[in-house]
């Protein structure tokens, strides 16, 4: 078990390091001077040179990358060129908004999608199953920002049931919750479809396995067989899918945050791209990449632990 955790974590760390290095190389190998981009087309050469020096871009490449990693180890992601605040501080300030959004979206999707998939599997090929299958595919294929636009259009602009923009007053829990409804719905909708289809498929598979027949032959109640014997197995794949889907979730969170003008890491990246504030862009892309790698690693570990077959061999 310990060996597996160590190996899996090591792989995660290696991937993060490579991803950071790749991102760093991209900055420096792609033609175009970050300082020039930052300052815009009308900048004078002196200004550009000054900015380059400030960002350390005038140093030789190997020195730059060493410095970058050294700073990273100290938790230093550089300085915001506009407000002159540390990037780490800004990113950490925005992160909770995005994390809550993603967590609640998955919770919402799981609470609806898993029972839906389970019910469809047990009533396979009925009208309900067909309708739920079609609805699931439609949910999956509709991009989250389109859902967000419609949610905004219908529930905020036309019906005025929910607020359109922002995250609500800090400290006012109810206000924040009300502001979360539409964004959570927009991100979660596709996941209802994913989870329903996934659980349906794995439930159908599990119900065909011969240990289910054994359980029936012992006269166990059908309810117990479904919830205790089958669903427990059928739900295992969802953990890894949510882990792998974290990248997807972060991407849809970004678009949704922009549609609802919500603070969060996505909005931060977007705003910094617009203002060409590239240390903030890099810092927040880096943090979200780390988040993604951590979540796939953790979900792999959870998955291995949940299944006694792998738990023992770890």
């Amino acid at each position: 078990m310990l060996l597996y955790i160590a190996k899996r974590t090591a792989l995660g760390v290696i991937i993060v390091l490579l991803a950071v290095a790749l991102l760093f190389c991209m900055i420096h190998l792609i033609p175009g001077d970050p300082a020039r981009i930052l300052l815009g087309p009308r900048a004078t050469p002196e200004l550009i040179a000054a900015m380059s020096a400030r960002l350390g871009l005038d140093l030789p490449f190997p020195v730059q990358i060493m410095r970058f990693f050294a700073n990273l180890l100290r938790g230093d992601l550089g300085m915001d060129v506009i407000t002159n605040r540390p990037v780490v501080e800004i990113v950490v300030g925005q992160l909770p908004y995005t994390l809550w959004l993603i967590f609640l979206a998955i919770l919402f999707a799981g609470l609806i999608g898993i029972p839906l998939g389970c019910y469809s599997a047990l009533h396979r090929n009925t009208l309900f199953d067909r309708i739920s299958g079609f609805v699931s595919v439609s949910f999956i294929t509709t991009p989250s920002f389109v859902v967000a636009l419609y949610a905004l259009l219908i529930f905020a602009v036309a019906l005025k049931w929910f607020p359109a923009v922002g995250a609500g007053d800090r400290g006012d829990f109810l206000d924040q919750a009300v502001h979360l409804v539409l964004p959570v719905f927009s991100i979660g909708l596709a996941w209802i479809g994913y989870l329903a289809r996934l659980v349906r498929a794995s439930m159908l598979e599990v119900m065909e396995e011969s240990h289910i027949r054994t359980a029936r032959a012992f006269g166990l109640a059908e309810r117990r067989i479904i919830y205790h014997y089958a669903l427990k197995l059928a739900i295992l794949p969802t953990v890894s899918v949510i882990g792998v889907g974290m990248g997807f979730l972060l991407s849809s969170a970004l678009l949704t945050e922009i549609v609802f003008a919500r603070p969060g890491i996505g909005k931060l990246i977007y705003d910094s791209v617009i203002t060409r504030n590239y240390p903030v862009v890099m810092g927040s892309v880096l943090v979200s990449t780390v988040l993604f790698v951590v979540s796939t690693t953790v979900s792999d570990l959870i998955n291995a632990w949940l299944d006694p077959r792998t738990r023992a061999t770890l």
Binding site: L11, I14, I15, V16, L18, A19, L22, L23, M26, I27, I30, P31, G32, P34, I37, V137, S138, I140, T141, T142, P143, F145, V146, L149, Y150, L152, L153, V157, A158, V244, G245, M246, G247, F248, L250, S251, S252, L254, L255, I258, V259, G266, I269, Y270, S272, V273, R276, Y278, V281, M282, S284, V285, S288, T289, F292, V293, T296
Partner: protein, 278 residues
């Protein structure tokens, strides 16, 4: 090919997908014939109109006909999707075969590279790239290529490995056939089917990605119409008129739905076990 089509349309969902895809592809292809107006022509007197017989989907804030813009937007969406997936396929095949057929260290290195690429959340990676090189359709295509290579590469690698262990390949190797020959003669035809299915199932994802990036203003430059930029116009006009959002989203939803159903029926027909991992 005809046989495949026949099997696809036997399933109601496959037929549904095929009809949707054909419908949208044709309307994009023949946009020049079908579009009643120039998609970029301004007509300030007719701006922000609701749908009518002269403007089927209404007009935007500059009086441009939304129906014509949607038709031309289809060209952008399909063009980006096909170009990006085509190039990504080629790169994926090459890298996947190298990993599958090459020495073990190369295999590990390529796999690690794939894992690294996959560790970036796509839209954020795209924004980072745009921050460096500026927004353009080429940037979008490049980002899509880079982020989809691992999907194909992994499939090609797995298939190559399994075919490599086949007896007939081993026999050829013993007989001294060149590796390149084996790859092209035996492995390529074997992995072609599964790859095409994967690619067709990726088209909706890629189209949605392009729309998302154009929505953020990171893709096509105005005034070129794209479904994403139409949606962006709609977003800024959301308190004024719902029509640009409706106009931009309908083709987007229909085509992703169509390609998904088409891809799934193809997949079920070729290999029920090949599941797309996203």
């Amino acid at each position: 090919m005809i046989a495949v089509l026949r099997l696809v349309i036997k399933e109601p969902t496959g037929l549904f997908g095929l009809v949707l895809v054909t419908f949208i592809v044709c309307s994009a292809l023949f946009a020049a014939v079908l579009a009643p107006y120039d998609p970029v022509a301004l007509n300030i007197t007719d701006r922000l109109q609701s749908p009518s017989l002269s403007h089927l989907l209404g007009t935007d804030q500059l009086g441009r006909d939304l129906f014509s813009r949607v038709l031309y937007g289809g060209q952008v969406a399909l063009g980006v999707a096909l170009t990006a997936i085509g190039i990504a396929l080629v790169c994926g095949i090459v890298l996947g075969m190298l990993a599958g057929f090459g020495p073990k260290w190369l295999d590990k290195a390529i796999l690690l590279f794939f894992d690294t690429i996959r560790s970036f959340p796509t839209v954020m990676f795209a924004l980072a790239t745009v921050a460096l090189v500026g927004p353009s359709l080429q940037t979008v295509i490049a980002v899509i290529i880079v982020t989809t290579i691992p999907t194909y590469g992994r499939v090609v690698r797995t298939q190559t490995l399994s075919i490599k262990s086949n007896e007939f390949i081993k026999a050829e190797q013993v007989m001294g056939a060149k590796t390149a020959r084996i790859l092209i003669m035996h492995i390529l035809p074997n992995i072609f089917g599964p790859l095409m299915i994967l690619a067709s199932m990726d088209i909706p994802t890629v189209i949605a990605l392009e729309a998302g990036l154009s929505f953020l203003g990171m893709g096509v430059k105005p005034p070129t119409p794209s479904w994403g930029s139409i949606l962006n116009d709609g977003f800024s006009l959301i308190r004024v008129t719902p029509w640009p959002i409706i106009a931009g989203s309908i083709p987007l939803i229909l085509i992703t739905l169509g390609f998904t159903y088409l891809g799934e029926s193809l997949r079920d027909f070729v290999d029920p076990k090949l599941r797309k991992n996203f």
